[in-house]
């Protein structure tokens, strides 16, 4: 649920989106993309939630790992389908995680 990530620094991609009303293929391909991302070299974890807006944050070891994932053939197809069908708008932010801390109820 909350991604287990290594000591900072590492990288995050914040993908914020607003969906259209078109569902055609969305669920299957969204799931496929999570599984495929998780199989990429340098992938560290992912967190996702959606209400009016959807937020998916994926974590990566390096900017190169992020570039490789962006250029993945299946992912490129999903990105195009996203723009054609599923998303009214989205924003992608590439970030360096400089520090982090957490809390766990014991």
């Amino acid at each position: 649920m909350i991604a287990t990530t290594p000591m900072a620094p590492y990288y995050a991609v914040i993908f914020t989106s607003v969906r259209t009303t078109i569902d055609e293929g969305y669920g299957d391909i969204a799931k496929e993309m999570i599984d495929l991302a998780a199989a990429q070299e340098g992938f560290l974890g992912v967190e996702s939630a959606r209400n009016e807006v959807g937020i998916t944050v994926s974590y990566w070891q390096s900017l190169d790992a992020i570039s490789n994932w962006k250029a993945n053939t299946r992912h490129l197809l999903a990105q195009k389908r996203g723009r054609d069908l599923w998303y009214e708008q989205y924003k992608v932010r590439i970030c360096k995680v400089e520090r982090d801390y957490d809390f766990n109820l014991s």
Copy 2:
């Protein structure tokens, strides 16, 4: 919904959380914290969604603005109440947004 942010670089705080089943005061104070954050110097915007996990990303002009917000008196009280009542676990990640891009269906 999707935060309108200036040209990178700027900063993001990714707050990922898992709630307890205790609601006592949560909704009111969550709303108050969003309004109060928005009134801080250096605040740029916020995005939020919750399913199994909640993700709130707030955007800031500088690390100083983030430190000031973390140390805000009302916010400190809310953080303590969060640990005592509302959150099973959470993770906070302080990030530098190095670049971004977006898509808008026209």
